[in-house]
Structure formats: C-alpha cells, structure tokens
Assembly symmetry: C2
Homo-oligomer: 592 residues x 2
C-alpha cells in the first residue's frame, strides 16, 4: 500500500525545483521551511492513512447511477468530508474567499499525494480548483460573493463542461446553446459528455461551468461563452433553492478510476418537472468563454501531469516492495538462504531503476512548472513575463511526459509482479488501468506536443526555450566541474542530449518560421519526449549535486535511458517526409 514519500517530495521541491532558494529569499512572505515540512507531513499522513485504504473499494465498487443520482463508493463521502475539514481544498486558494493562498508548489505536491493514494479521489477537487480560478479571475463580484467561499472550502464542488459527442479536441464544433432570459440570466440547452464528477453525493450543491453559444454568436471558438449553472439555485442568503434543469443521464463504464463518476450531463430537457432550460449566469464577457476556460485548463493540465507522477510513484513503491518480498531463483549478488528476493536479479533491477528514475524526472518537471507559476504570480514586469513563459513552456511537458511516464511505469510495475500482476487483487493492474486516462484527457498528449512546438517554442521570439536549455546546460557543467567520480559519464550524456535538444529546437523553429508547420508537427511528439528526457536528466543531476546519495540513480539514467535522445532528435529532423509518404496508405477511400 502507498506510503507518501514526504522526504522525497520535500527534497524535490526544495533542492530541484527551486523552493528552498525562494523560501530563503522570502519570496513567499513569512512562509518558512518548518511550515512547508509540517504541511507536507500532514498531507502525507492524510493520503497514506485516510485515502489509500479506500482505494480498493473505490476501484471495485465504483460510482453508481440510480435515476439521476450518483452514489460514490462506501466511505468516500465521509472521506471527502474529512478532507475538506482538514482544509485541504483551500490550500492554494485565494485568501479573500477563505483560502490559504499557499504556493502552487505546495498545492501540487499535496495533489500528487491525493492522486497516489487514489487517483479517482484526487481528480474531483482538481476540477473545483479550476472553477475557483476561473471565477476568481473572470466572474462578476456578485457571482464571486455567492459561490467562491463555498467552492474554496469544498462545501460545494465545481465541474468543467466542455466536451460534446462531436467535439472533443476540437472545441470549434461545440453546439450547446444559451439563450438570454432578459433578466440577466440565460437558459442553457445541450448535452455534455465525459463530465468528471458531474454528479455525486459528496456535496449538497455542484457548480457547473459550461461552454455554450449565444444566439447569433460567431461560429467556431470565438462564439463560445462560459456560464455558471448550479445544480441547485442559490438564494441571496446562500440557501439552496430550486433544482436547476441540469441532470446526469448516464455514467461511463471506464477502464479505470472507477470511483470517479464520468457523467453525461443534459442541460435544458425539463427533467423531473423542472422548467426546461438550465438557468445560468455569464462568466466574463460574451463570446470570450474560451479565454476564461483556458484559465482552468492550463492548471488542469499540470494537475493531470501530477496524476502521471502520482501513479508512477505508487506503482514504483508497490513493485519495489514486491521485489524485496518475492523469492525466485539464484542471484550472484545474493548470498542468503534459499531463493533470492527477485530484487537481486539484474533484469528486475533494470525495471525498478527505470521506474524510479522516470518517476523522479516527471516529478521534477512538474514541480518546476509549479515553481514558474508561483514566480509569475508574485513577480512583475519582465520577470513576470519570463516566469509565465516558463510555466507555459513546461505545462505541456508536465502534462504529456509525466502521464506517459505514468503508463510506462505502471506497466513495468505490473511486469515486476509476474503472474500476480495480472490478478486484480494484487493491485498493480488497477494502476495500469487508472494511468491510461491521463495521456488522454485535458488535451491528448499529441495535442500537448503540438502546443509545445507550435505555441511554446516561439515564446519570446524563440529565445525563451533557448534560455531554458542554457540553464540545463549549466547543470551539466556543474556535474563536470564537480569531479565526483560516481557520476561516470553523466556530464557527457547530458551534454549530448542537450545538444540534440538544441539542434531539434533550431530545426523546428526554422520550419515554423518557414510556415512548414505540418512538417514541424510530425516531429512534435518525439520532440516533447526529447526535451523532457534531457531536462529530466539535468534535474536528476541537480538533485545529485545537492545530495550525493542520489548520484547513482542519476548516473543510471544518464548511461541507460538518456541515450534515447539521439534517436528522438533524428526523428524530429528526419522523420517527417517518410511519415507523410507512408500515411497516404492510411486514408480510406472516401475520407480523403
């Protein structure tokens, strides 16, 4: 069972992702290391002792729909109550509405722990926090006053309603419509699918944020507006009133995260005697819904990245424990009695070290992204621009690389368990199932790679990414000048990988400048993995420079896993033409 790796998390925050220098510099006011440690320890305790024990029943029983009501698995509602009573929902929410306004870095670290303990639990509050951010930034004072405090405390939860059957990755195709009622409110009609925690029994009210089109709105995403539609209308005194016409009509039968209800939501069908048309309030300006929604989406992407880190961590712990317990065969390095624990077999070691290294890298990238978000918020001028660009650059890495790592590590973890891994009771298979959604939702990883190449490489006139690579190169130099023997060929490996990143970056920036974006996009996915691996190697090295007990794993990564960078660069630079040529045969007659 999962035990929150509080020390590892604290180390990565402080010594790899930049929290220690920030605390020392007073960046976060009087927030000090002691308080950080105390918060992490308590979050770790909650995740380990309260959430993790409810994982299995959540997976086995799942959320259940009866009529339009969803019941969460036994014990989950009480768990959620204990969780908000602990103040965890408010951790990085604005103080004005009762939040603790702690750094995103801390919020993200805690989020990792909730998701490690049970991803189906961790996902719910993520949506609430997205709603808080969107309302805080874009809503009218009246809406804020009515909803934010209860969303910050967690007394109500929020949702994010984008997807429709014909519109997943492409929001241009959204059809849900909103009609002005003449009294400042709107009536919303349409169907939304894949709505996470769209309906449940955790809270008395659920606050839906919905994208819809006003009459005469322009086609495409420029005609989308964002609305707030609560499950129950809320009086000026905060009391719950009539049931709004938004109902759950179905739950998806999913591969994993069974306890998280994935709902089809019907707006405006006059269900259960309601007046047809879900009553909604505009958030922000008309036809500017997408910008408001992006506030939610960017941070949701980092949050999904944390799910990748989280599942990878749990899978690694589980496999490591099993490998130390299970005995099979003989091993040269084992001189005890009887069969050797399988952790002594080189092939098992390779799997476990790969899992550890990838998990640490995904964590370091994600925390560094949170660090940039924090810095962007508290700085101004050029500095704020710099950190916002950094956050923007790292978000697709955190989302896509970390969630790919989640799948990869969960699969390796299952493999370490041998035949037992395929048996559901062991628990390794459930992680393999849960992990698989994260590369898909909040923008598929393919779309993250396109975002990285098409929108993030050009940041700062192309200079931002070059500056980032230069920072990573400086770490390689530090390794070299450290003269520490244990690093082996780490510095060479890092330099080579970063040279590959430079070359691939220049190449893609050149294609974009020439308007050859299809060729650039053909290399987007390999490029995302390339820069992530190289950055990850540098982060491992930074950690190893701060704590020499970490050198061995860093070296393993550099000498065993970082070599992939060369092949990835070749794909970016030389893969597009053959991809385009071979793809002709993929297209069926009639669809071309």
């Amino acid at each position: 069972m999962y035990r929150a790796p509080v020390e590892e998390i604290a180390f990565t925050l402080k010594h790899v992702a930049g929290l220690k220098p920030a605390l020392d510099a007073g960046t976060f006011g009087d927030l000090g290391e002691d308080l950080v440690d105390a918060i992490l320890a308590e979050a770790g305790r909650f995740a380990t002792e309260e959430i993790a024990p409810l994982y299995k029943i959540g997976d086995e029983q799942g959320a259940v729909l009866s009529g339009a009501a969803v019941t969460t698995p036994p014990g989950w509602k009480a768990l959620y109550r204990r969780w908000i009573d602990g103040g965890w929902n408010a951790l990085s929410a604005p103080e004005e509405f009762g939040g603790q306004a702690l750094p995103t870095m801390l919020g993200v670290a805690a989020l990792e722990m909730w998701n490690s303990a049970a991803m189906a639990f961790g996902i719910g509050p993520t949506l609430t926090m997205g709603a808080v951010e969107a309302l805080d930034k874009h809503a009218s004072p009246a809406l804020k006053a009515k909803y934010l405090e209860k969303l910050v405390s967690g007394e109500w939860m929020g949702t994010m309603n984008l997807t429709e059957p014909q519109a997943g990755s492409d929001l241009n195709a959204l059809r849900a419509r909103a009609e002005p009622a003449g009294d400042g409110t709107y009536r919303i009609f349409g169907q939304k699918i894949f709505i996470t925690y769209g309906e449940h029994d955790f809270t008395d009210n659920i606050i839906h944020l919905v994208l819809a089109r006003l009459p005469d709105a322009p086609a495409g995403t420029r005609g989308l507006s964002l609305f707030l539609a609560p499950k129950f209308l809320v009086g000026d005194d905060g009391a719950l009133g009539a049931r709004n016409d938004v109902f759950c009509s179905g739950l998806e039968h999913k591969l994993g995260i069974h306890a998280s209800p994935t709902c089809t939501m019907i707006y405006g069908d006059g269900f259960e005697g309601t007046v047809p048309g879900a009553i909604g309030w505009l958030i922000g300006e008309e036809n500017k819904g997408l910008a408001c929604m992006f506030t939610m989406m960017n941070n949701a992407r980092l949050a999904v990245g944390m799910q990748g880190v989280a599942v990878a961590e749990t899978a690694t712990q589980k496999a490591l424990a099993y490998a130390n317990d299970r005995r099979q065969g003989k091993a040269a390095s084992y001189d005890g009695d009887g069969m050797a624990p399988i952790v002594h077999h080189p092939d098992v070691q390779r799997n476990l070290l790969t899992m550890k290294a990838l998990t640490q890298i995904a964590r370091a990238i994600s925390y560094s992204c949170a660090h940039a978000i924090d810095n962007a918020r508290i700085s101004s001028g050029d500095e704020a621009t710099h950190w916002q660009e950094r956050a923007n650059l790292l978000t697709p890495l955190a989302k896509a690389f970390a969630t790919d790592v989640g799948v990869e590590v969960a699969s390796l973890g299952l493999q370490v368990h041998g035949g037992m891994g395929f048996i559901e009771e062991t628990g390794a298979a459930a992680l393999y199932r849960d992990a698989r959604i994260a590369p898909i939702y909040e923008g598929t990883n393919g779309i993250q790679a396109i975002d990285l190449v098409a929108r993030k490489l050009p940041l700062g006139g192309g200079e931002h990414v070059r500056g980032y690579i230069a920072e990573l190169k400086a770490v390689a130099s530090q390794v070299r000048t450290s003269n520490l023997q244990g690093f082996g060929r780490t510095a060479d490996g890092l330099d080579k990988a970063l040279d590959n990143v430079c070359e691939a970056t220049r190449f893609l920036q050149g294609l974009l400048a020439d308007g050859r974006s299809d060729e650039a996009l053909a290399g987007a996915t390999p490029y995302l993995r390339l820069i992530s691996l190289a950055a990850g190697g540098a982060y491992l090295a930074r950690g190893a420079l701060a704590d020499q007990s970490r050198i061995a794993l860093c070296r393993f990564f550099a000498e065993n896993l970082l070599g992939e960078a060369g092949a990835l660069k070749e794909r970016v630079i030389g893969g597009a033409e053959s991809l385009a040529t071979a793809s002709k045969a993929l297209i069926s007659a009639g669809t071309s």
Copy 2:
C-alpha cells in the same frame, strides 16, 4: 470489429518468412500455394465470422466457477465445437493420430487469427497442442493410443500444470509430489496455480500434464517428473470412467482474457468422495519431466508471441477504422467538407504507422521462427542443426518482442481513440487489458532475454547468431543495390542498426566467455529489443523488395523507429556498471 488480414498474412508467410521458396522446392511434399491460400482464407473466415462476434460477451461475462465446475461464456462451448468440427485443432498435429501434419507456419498463421478474434479463445487449444507434442515425443505407446487421437481432434483438451505459489519462474521450487501406487500408476498430491483452461465445459474430459516429484527424487529441476492425469479416468475402450481426484478450487480475477479460466487445481485432496490422490501415468522417464515439459514450452512460447502479433493486429485495425471515421479539427492534407477525419493529423498518422510497422515486424519474426521449426523437422544432419538453432534463437524474440509490441500497440490504439478509448464499450481498452498478460506467462520477457543472451548467443560456438546477422545484412545490401528511390535512407539505417547488433553481440559473447554473466544479463532486455528491431527492419525491407507498395512503411520504420538501435547498443555495452551500482539502494535491509 476484426477482419482477418488474410492477404497480409499470406504475403508475410510466402515472401518474408520463406514459405514460397519452400513450396516451390517441394519442401512440404505436394502442399501447394492454392491449398495454403484456401486454408488461410477459411481460417480467416472462421476467425472473422465465428470467433470475433463472441469476443465481447467473453470479455464481459468471463468464465464462471460454481462448485468445482467452470462454465464458459454463452456461445463459447458451441463455438469450440464448430471450431474442432472444422478440423482446426488437428491442423499441424501428427497424421498418425488423425492430424493434418501441415507446416507449423500455417498453424501459427491460423493461431494468429484465432487470437486476434479472441485471445481468451485462442489460448485454450494452444495448451492442447502442447500436450499433443509432449505425448507424441515422450509418452508410451499405450498412453499415446489412449489419449492422442482425441487430443488431436480436440474432443478432449489438454493442460500444462507447472506453477505453484512458491514456484513461478523458478521450477526448482516445485513441491507437488507423486507416489508410485505399485501398479504402474502414481498418486499425485499438491496445488497448482495459474492453470489455463484447467477446468471448463468445452469438452467431456480434460487431460492434465503435471510436473511433480517422486519420493527420494533429487532436489531442484532434476527431480521433476511429468505425469498425465485425466479429469475422468479412461477405460481401455476409450469410455470415460471414474472422476479423478483433481479439482478446480478457484478462478483468478484477471485484468484481461476473462473468458479463459485461470484455475487453481488441487491434486489429491479426496474431493467429492474420490479416493485421495490423483491417479497419474508417467510420461517419459522418471526425473526427466523438465525435458518433456520443454517440448511443450518452446512451442508455447512461439504461440504466446502470436498473441502479441494478434492483439497488435486487432488494435491497429480498430484504431485505423476509428481514425478514418472520427472527425476533429482541420488538417493541411484534408480538403473535404467539415472537420477532417483524424487520420489526416500527423500525430495520429505517426501512431498508426508505428502500430502498423511494429505489428508487421512482430509477425515477420514469429513466422520466421515457425519457418525454422518446419525446416528443422523435415531436414537432417547439419541442416537440421542449423534450423533448430535458428528456431532456438528466434523463439525468445518471437515471445518477448512480439508480446511487448502487443502491449505497445494496444496502448497506442487506445490513445488514437481519445476519450472513447477509455470507455469499455469501445473495445480498445479490452485489447490493452488482454495484451498485458503475454509478456508475463510462458516465461516473463525478462527471462526470454536471459535465455537469448545466455543460451542462444552461444549456439554453434557463437557462429549461429553471426550467420543470422549476415543474412540480415544481405537484405540491406539488396535495398542499396535496388536503387529504388522510395527507400530513402533505409539501407543506411539498416546497416547502422545491424552494425550495432554486431557490436553488442560481440560484446555480450565476450562477457559470457569471461564468465561475467551478471554484466551480460544486465543488458539482456535492451539486446533483445535491439536485435528484434534490426531483424524486423530487414524483414520489412525484404517484403518491400518483393512488393514495392510496401516501401513507404519500410522507410517510415527505418527513418523513424530504427534509430532506437543506437541507444539500445549503448545500454548493452555501457549500462551494466551503473545499473549494478544504483541497484544497491533497491535492496531492503534484511533481504540482502
């Protein structure tokens, strides 16, 4: 839904794996291309029309245990009956007992189709065929006379009972025991787990092959004997008699292949009033059970490799169909109305081409292994030795590489479906679940890699593998001298990859010669993937030389996927030391 790719299979058999030259040379007597095509077409029809439609109910309802009886999903028993009535069980079985004695190549091609249509169906007869082979090679004439004909026809099914809770990969630790009854029979006692189709309702009798220890047998695998224990005793007239004391006490709750009953079998507990002790007959000599079992295991490994190919094929078909149907966004290459089918997006194309190329490669390696098995059987002297070594070399590649490909391709296929992929009804998730067992059973892929390095590289004094690489190099030369433009940098890529294989092979052979086997084993898994990718590239090229419409995919593979070879070679050659150093931290106090 799956449609058997009969043409693709026939092409690979004939023009890549060597069937056409063999048929032309009369290697298989009067077997001609027409009959081969007819058999493949009819197998394809059966898989597509009869098996595939029952996949979903098999996955959803699974096999069910009640008392000690297992019921297969609705329709499956009748399906099995139609399948044996078609003669499919007897396809490559010995003629003496009613088999058709067709080449293993054909048997393996048909096996791919059964498994593509429903892996949980395809796995059952694989065990029966293993039992047929073991009995045919090692059993007494009396046992053969009593059991073989009905196992060949499929009227009875066979099983393979090795694993016990404490003994999975390490058969030394087996404890099941067999006591001589004094009348030439034995009484077997013990528990076996993970027994595929150990109990079911397909057939009236089930013939278990069981490894157990005689009293006073030496410890370890040299003390294992193989026994035949039928579910019902069989009279000399072939009539079924008393129930034998071997019972199913539990079914595993598995991640995938739900319709395949995975049984815990209890021998000798006197269940249901039977006389305690399962009555068994010795197969082969006392204490030579492992050698007999290996007859089953080697071919079972190729059969499991086919499951990897099979799932990859189905996943690819499914993703390709979805990508041509689902529309999202705009694409430069699409000038039709409305949103573009997602197959027009370069990132989706990259996934689909990767899936196609990996599937074709895994198929080519596996069929080539079958080709070697066929040639070994029908030739003699040095030639037989050569082909047996080739079969031995390719078996771990077929098993491990193809099943890794199965998981990789099923995961990519799920990704192509976006959010729909995570919904069970879509069917992509089920393939991702099914695929995951194949890298584990019949010897984990880690063990296959160890087998490859420790036992297969030394074949023929180390010459055999070098000869194989030389054959692959000749294909690269043919590509170069063909001067066909469409190949792009294929020849260069192949040469480079094969040079990497050469270097890695020499390096590992050197370590083995120096007795540094732990260092060699650290690189075993990367080496297996390295040689598989390089061989696969050569097989794709061989196919492309025979049919130029295949050049584009071959080039895509060479220019996009084959580059991984360089990194794999580096891992083999330079990865062991850092792996050993970093692994120290994996071992818990108390287990070292």
